[in-house]
C-alpha cells in the first residue's frame, strides 16, 4: 500500500532523554509522569535512548524509564518500545552483574507474554555499553556477552577506534558506535545518535528505492530534563532551538508551539558525511557507498553541488569495484564543473577515466570542462576523442553540438557546420549556429535562411532577440537596410536591454539617411553602454549629415576622449573644421 499515513502526520519514532543527574526524587517523579503522558503519542513502535548529562555510570534513571515504559505497555497492549540506555562502564564485575541485570529482568513479563501469544516482545532493553578509558577489551566483551546471554542485543560505544573488532568477536547483530571525541559527554553521544539515526533512515530509503531522499527523516524528539525542554529533532537540539517546555506534556493533545522549520537537506547531508569510522566498524561500507552516491545525486538536483561533490568523493572512497569508482568520480567531476571549479573537475574526470571502461564519457565531460574555461583547442581534442569512442552514454547530438561550439569559438566555421549537419535531431540552437557558421564564412544569404528556420521554432524572448539581431545583421550585410531595421526593431522589443540591437539600428538608419532615427537609436545604445566611443562617433556622423557641424565635432571629441584610437573621428573633426574655416562669413550660423 502506498498511502502509509492514514492518520495524518507521522508521530515521533525516536526519543532521546537527556537525564539530569542532580534531579531530586520529586522532580524525577514529575518528569516520569510527563514522559508517561507522551508515550501514547509516540509511534506504536518507538525507540527511547536514555543518557545522563553527567557521564557517571549510573543506571537508576534508565531503570526508572524502563519501568515507566513497562507500566504504559501493561495498560496499552498495542505498542512496542525499545529502550536503549547508555551504560558507562569502568569495569565488569559482581556489582555490574547485579545492577545491570535489573534491566533485562524488567522485560521478563513481556517475554512471557510473547511466548504465550506466539508473537514478539513489546518491551526491549538494548543497552549501549560505553567503556571508559582503561577498560580492557576482555571486560568490554564480557559486558556485551552478559546482555547477549539475557536475550538482548547490546551496542558498543567507543571513543576512537577500538583495539579489537567487536563484530568479529560478538557477531553481526552488535551495533558499534565510534565517537571521535576522546571522552564521554551527552552532547557527543547525541551527535552520534543523530548521524546514525539519519544514516539508517536514508539507507532505508535507498534500499526501498523511495523518492524524496532529502525529505525530513523519521520524527524524533530530544528531551532535556535539566532544561525542562523538548526539541523537535536532533538538529534543533544541537541548534538550541527548543520546541516547547516540558510542561506542555501536561496538556496533550494540545500541539506544543515552537520552532519547527529546519534545513533538512543540509542536516541529512552533513550528518551522513560525519559517519566516519562508524561504517567500517559496522561492516556497512557498501551501504555507505550507496547512501553517499544517491545522496550526492539528490543534492546535485537541488543545486547543492558542494555537498554533492563531497558525497561523491565519499562514495568513491568506499567503492569496491572500478565501475562504482568511475560512477562516483563522474558525478564528483560534474559537481565541480557546475561549481566552475574547472581544475578540480578536470583532475577528477581524468582520474575517473582510469577506472571506466567508457573512456568516451569522460572525454566528453573533460571537453565540457575545457570549453567552460574557454580552452577551445583542448575542448575540440576531447570532444573528438569522445566521438571516436562512440560512448553509448554520451548523447551524440549533444556531443556534436558542443564540438561545433568549440570550433565556432576558434572561427573554424566550415568544420563546425559539418558537425552541426550530422546532428540527428537538430535543435533550434543548432539551426541558429549553422547560420553563425554561414555568416562567419561570408555567406549572409545562406545564414539568413538558417536564422529564419530557427525563428520558426518559436524561441523564447531572450533567444528571439538574438535570432532577430542576426537576421538584421544578414540583411545589413546584403544591403537590405529597410528590412534589417524591421528585424532589429522587433529584436529590441523582444529584449529592450540588448545594446547590440540599438547599435546596429543606428547604422542601418544612417545608411537609409534617417539620421534623426539613427541618433535616437544610438542614444538608446549609449544608455545601456555609456562608455561606447563608437556610438558617440556615429552620432557625430549623423549630426554632420544633418549639417549640425559644431554638434558633430563635440560628439567626435567625446568619442575620442573615450577611445583616442578612433582615427575616423579625428579625421572627420579635421574635415569639418576645415570646412567651417572655408565657409563664407554670411553663411554662418543663424543665416538660413
Amino acid at each position: 500500500m502506498k498511502n502509509n499515513r492514514p492518520f495524518g502526520n507521522p508521530p515521533p519514532e525516536t526519543v532521546v532523554l537527556k537525564l539530569y543527574s542532580k534531579s531530586g526524587p520529586g522532580e524525577r517523579d514529575k518528569f516520569l509522569e510527563r514522559l508517561g503522558s507522551l508515550f501514547p503519542y509516540l509511534n506504536w513502535q518507538a525507540h527511547i535512548f536514555v543518557l545522563n548529562d553527567d557521564p557517571v555510570g549510573r543506571i537508576d534513571g534508565a531503570l526508572e524509564v524502563i519501568r515507566a515504559a513497562a507500566g504504559f505497555l501493561n495498560r496499552q497492549k498495542l505498542s512496542t518500545i525499545y529502550v536503549h540506555p547508555f551504560i558507562l562502564m569502568d569495569g565488569f564485575g559482581k556489582d555490574e552483574i547485579e545492577n545491570w541485570g535489573m534491566m533485562p529482568d524488567l522485560t521478563e513479563p513481556f517475554q512471557r507474554e510473547a511466548y504465550e501469544q506466539q508473537g514478539k516482545e513489546r518491551l526491549f532493553v538494548l543497552p549501549i555499553i560505553e567503556p571508559l578509558e582503561g577498560v580492557s577489551s576482555e571486560s568490554t566483551l564480557s559486558a556485551a556477552r552478559f546482555f547477549k546471554d539475557r536475550l538482548t542485543k547490546p551496542s558498543l560505544y567507543f571513543h576512537g577506534k577500538p583495539s579489537f573488532d567487536p563484530i568479529a568477536a560478538l557477531g553481526k547483530d552488535i551495533r558499534v558506535y565510534i565517537d571521535p571525541a576522546s571522552s564521554p559527554s551527552a552532547e557527543s553521544a547525541i551527535s552520534q545518535l543523530r548521524m546514525n539515526h539519519i544514516f539508517e533512515n536514508i539507507l532505508e530509503r535507498v534500499e526501498n528505492e523511495a523518492a524524496g531522499l532529502l525529505d525530513p527523516c523519521r520524527r524524533n524528539l530530544v528531551i532535556d530534563e535539566k532544561e525542562q525542554t523538548i526539541f523537535s529533532c536532533f538538529a534543533q537540539y544541537q541548534n538550541r532551538k527548543s520546541l516547547a517546555l516540558l510542561e506542555c506534556l501536561d496538556n496533550l493533545p494540545e500541539k506544543p508551539d515552537g520552532p519547527e522549520e529546519s534545513n533538512c537537506a543540509q542536516c541529512i547531508s552533513r550528518s551522513c558525511l560525519a559517519m566516519g569510522e562508524n561504517l567500517a566498524a559496522n561492516r556497512k561500507a557498501e551501504e555507505g557507498r550507496q547512501v553517499f552516491f544517491r545522496l550526492g545525486i539528490a543534492l546535485a538536483r537541488e543545486g547543492e553541488y558542494h555537498d554533492a561533490a563531497l558525497h561523491a568523493g565519499k562514495s568513491f572512497e568506499l567503492s569496491a569495484s572500478d565501475a562504482d569508482r568511475a560512477a562516483a568520480l563522474l558525478h564528483q567531476g560534474l559537481c565541480h564543473l557546475n561549481l566552475s571549479e574547472f581544475e578540480q573537475a578536470e583532475k577528477v574526470f581524468k582520474k575517473g577515466a582510469g577506472y571506466s571502461i567508457d573512456s568516451g564519457l569522460f572525454s566528453y565531460h573533460r571537453g565540457r570542462t575545457e570549453f567552460a574555461r574557454q580552452n577551445y583547442a583542448e575542448a575540440i581534442k576531447r570532444f573528438r576523442e569522445s566521438l571516436a569512442a562512440e560512448s553509448p552514454d554520451v548523447p551524440k547530438d549533444d556531443l556534436l553540438f558542443n564540438l561545433s561550439m568549440s570550433l565556432i569559438n576558434v572561427e573554424r566555421f566550415g568544420e563546425a557546420r559539418a558537425y552541426l549537419d550530422l546532428m540527428e535531431r537538430p535543435t533550434a540552437p543548432a539551426m541558429f549556429y549553422q547560420g553563425i557558421c554561414d555568416l562567419g564564412e561570408g555567406n549572409p544569404e545562406a545564414a539568413l535562411k538558417r536564422f529564419g528556420e530557427a525563428l520558426e521554432t518559436g524561441p523564447d524572448p531572450a533567444d528571439l532577440s538574438r535570432v532577430l539581431f542576426y537576421i538584421g545583421t544578414c540583411l545589413k550585410e546584403l544591403g537590405r537596410y529597410a528590412e534589417a531595421i524591421l528585424a532589429l526593431q522587433k529584436a529590441s522589443t523582444a529584449d529592450p536591454q540588448e545594446y547590440l540591437n540599438y547599435n546596429l539600428l543606428g547604422f542601418c538608419f544612417y545608411q537609409t539617411k534617417r539620421y534623426e532615427k539613427a541618433i535616437e537609436s544610438l542614444h538608446r545604445a549609449l544608455k545601456i553602454n555609456p562608455a561606447s566611443a563608437i556610438d558617440y562617433a556615429s552620432i557625430g556622423s549623423n549630426l554632420r549629415e544633418l549639417g549640425r557641424l559644431e554638434d558633430a565635432v563635440a560628439m567626435y571629441k567625446m568619442a575620442l576622449s573615450l577611445d583616442p584610437n578612433l582615427a575616423f573621428a579625428r579625421e572627420n573633426i579635421a574635415k569639418i573644421e576645415r570646412a567651417l574655416r572655408e565657409r563664407p562669413a554670411n553663411t554662418g550660423r543663424g543665416d538660413s
Partner: protein, 427 residues
C-alpha cells in the same frame, strides 16, 4: 451506518485488504458508509492518533480481519476503539474468527462479535441488528456474548452461490489500485481438496465458487489501467477450471491489458498449453504447493499429488518462460529428518530459487484444519500445556518423528540454502 474495516499486520508492510474490500463494497451497495484501512509494520501511527481517528469518524461498527499472528494486536486495537467510541460494536472476521472457540470472546475483551464464515452476508446482518437495537438475539453467522456471560451463536450463513452477487471492491471504488504497488485479486474462493494442514476445505465446504469470466476481465482491466499493473491472485487454485482460466487469459491478451500477474495453483492443474497462454497474458510467476517431496510424508497429507507431477509442472512453467515458487513445509506428520532433507534436495534440484515464498516454513497448525481437530492423531505433541483461547497451536509443537531440536536443524538447513536468509513471514 458508518463502518470501519481494518486489516492490521504488525509483522509485514500493509497489503491490499481484498476481503475487507468486498465487505466494504457490499455495505456501500446497501447504502452504508464504509472505510477500509490497511495497516502494517511500516505504518506510522500512535495509539493516540488511532483513538482520535475513531472518535472523529465515530463508526457504529468496526471490523477487523483476524488471524493467528495478529489477533493479539487486533484485540489491542479493538480496546482502543471501545475507549474512543464506547457505543461502537466490534466484529472479528477472517479464518481465525471463523473457527475460534466461543470462549475466545472472554479473552477478547474489545470484541463483540465473531464472524463465522463468509463475511459479506454476516456483516449486513450485524449492521441491521445494530441499527434496530436487536443485538441480544443470536445472529446468523455470528457468535456474541449474552447478558448472563454465556455466548449466542446463530445458524451458519449460506454464502452466495454466484460470487458475482457481491459487488466488486475495485469497480465500485472501495479499493483504489492507485494506492497500491501491487493489487491483490480474488477471482474464486474455496478448494475441493482436503489437505490435512489447511483450513480452506473446512471454510469453503470443499466447494469452489468463482466470479464470471467477464467480471474477472473487467476487474483486471480496471486495476491495470488505474494501478501499477502488478497483481497477486489470492485464489487457492487459480486454474481449477482450465476452460474458464483459458477464457480469462485469452481475454487479457485480446484486450492487450498490461498486467504482471502472480498466481497460485496446483501442479496437476497446469498444462503445457495453459503455461504458454499464461505467459502470453502477463503471468510472470506460478506458485505451487509441494509441501513434502518424501513418499513417507505426502501420502498422509491428503493432497493427492506426488513430486513427479510437480516436477513436470515446474519444467512446463520454466519452458514457457514463467518463474516458479514452491510452498513447502517441515515438521509434517510422519516426517523424519531425512524426509525433510529430501524436500530441500527436491527444491534445490528443481531449479526453483530458494527465496521468498520458496523458503520452507514449519507447518503451522491453525483452527479449522484437520490436524488442529485431532493433533494427537497426527502425532503432534504441543510444547505447552495451554494456549490462550484465541490462539491455536501454530508452530508450538514437535512431532512423534521430529523433536524440537531437529525441527530447528531443518530450519537452519533451509536457511543455509536460502538466497535471502529465509525471509518468509508466516501469515
Amino acid at each position: 451506518m458508518r463502518v470501519l474495516l481494518i486489516d492490521f499486520n504488525p509483522f509485514m508492510a500493509p497489503v491490499t485488504p481484498i476481503s475487507l474490500g468486498y465487505l466494504g463494497a457490499v455495505l456501500k451497495s446497501k447504502g452504508h458508509e464504509a472505510r477500509v484501512l490497511s495497516l502494517g509494520s511500516t505504518t506510522l501511527f500512535s495509539p493516540a492518533a488511532f483513538r482520535a481517528y475513531i472518535k472523529e469518524y465515530s463508526p457504529g461498527l468496526v471490523g477487523f480481519g483476524a488471524y493467528q499472528r495478529n489477533i493479539f494486536h487486533v484485540n489491542a486495537l479493538a480496546t482502543l476503539v471501545k475507549e474512543a467510541a464506547p457505543g461502537a460494536f466490534v466484529v472479528l472476521g477472517g479464518p481465525q474468527a471463523t473457527f475460534l472457540p466461543d470462549d475466545a470472546l472472554a479473552a477478547l475483551t474489545g470484541v463483540d462479535f465473531l464472524c463465522r464464515g463468509e463475511g459479506e452476508r454476516v456483516i449486513l446482518a450485524i449492521v441491521d441488528a445494530i441499527g434496530s437495537g436487536g443485538t441480544t438475539a443470536p445472529l446468523q453467522g455470528t457468535t456474541s456474548r449474552n447478558r448472563e456471560g454465556g455466548y449466542l451463536t446463530g445458524p451458519p450463513v449460506i454464502p452466495a452461490a454466484n460470487l458475482d452477487e457481491y459487488p466488486s471492491p475495485w469497480l465500485e471504488g472501495t479499493l483504489d489500485p492507485a494506492d497500491m504497488d501491487e493489487a491483490i485479486m480474488l477471482t474464486s474462493r474455496g478448494c475441493p481438496y482436503s489437505c490435512a494442514f489447511c483450513y480452506t476445505p473446512a471454510a469453503s465446504g470443499r466447494k469452489i465458487r468463482a466470479h464470471s469470466v467477464e467480471r474477472v476481465i473487467e476487474e483486471i482491466a480496471f486495476v491495470a489501467r488505474h494501478g501499477s499493473g502488478r497483481m497477486w491472485f489470492a485464489d487457492p487454485n487459480f486454474s481449477f477450471d482450465e476452460n474458464r482460466v483459458g477464457e480469462i487469459l485469452e481475454g487479457i491478451a485480446r484486450r492487450d491489458i498490461k498486467a504482471q500477474m502472480w498466481i497460485e495453483t496446483r501442479a496437476d492443474m497446469l498444462s503445457k498449453e495453459l503455461t504458454i497462454l499464461m505467459k502470453r497474458a502477463g503471468v510472470y510467476l506460478v506458485a505451487m504447493g509441494l509441501e513434502s517431496a518424501s513418499e513417507n510424508v505426502y501420502p498422509h497429507l491428503n493432497k493427492n499429488l506426488n513430486p513427479d507431477r510437480i516436477r513436470r509442472a515446474i519444467e512446463m512453467a520454466f519452458e514457457a518462460g514463467l518463474d516458479v515458487e514452491l510452498f513447502s513445509q517441515f515438521a509434517l506428520p510422519h516426517e523424519r529428518f531425512d524426509d525433510a532433507m529430501k524436500t530441500l534436495d527436491f527444491v534445490k534440484e528443481s531449479g526453483v530459487k530458494i527465496r521468498g515464498n520458496s523458503n520452507a516454513q514449519q507447518m503451522q497448525i491453525y483452527f479449522g484444519s484437520q490436524i488442529s481437530v485431532d493433533p494427537a492423531g497426527y502425532g503432534i505433541r504441543t510444547l505447552r500445556e495451554s494456549f490462550p483461547p484465541y490462539a491455536s497451536i501454530g508452530g508450538e509443537f514437535e512431532t512423534e518423528w521430529l523433536a524440537k531440536p531437529e525441527i530447528e536443524k531443518v530450519k537452519a538447513a533451509w536457511k543455509a540454502q536460502s538466497l535471502d536468509g529465509g525471509k518468509r513471514v508466516v501469515s
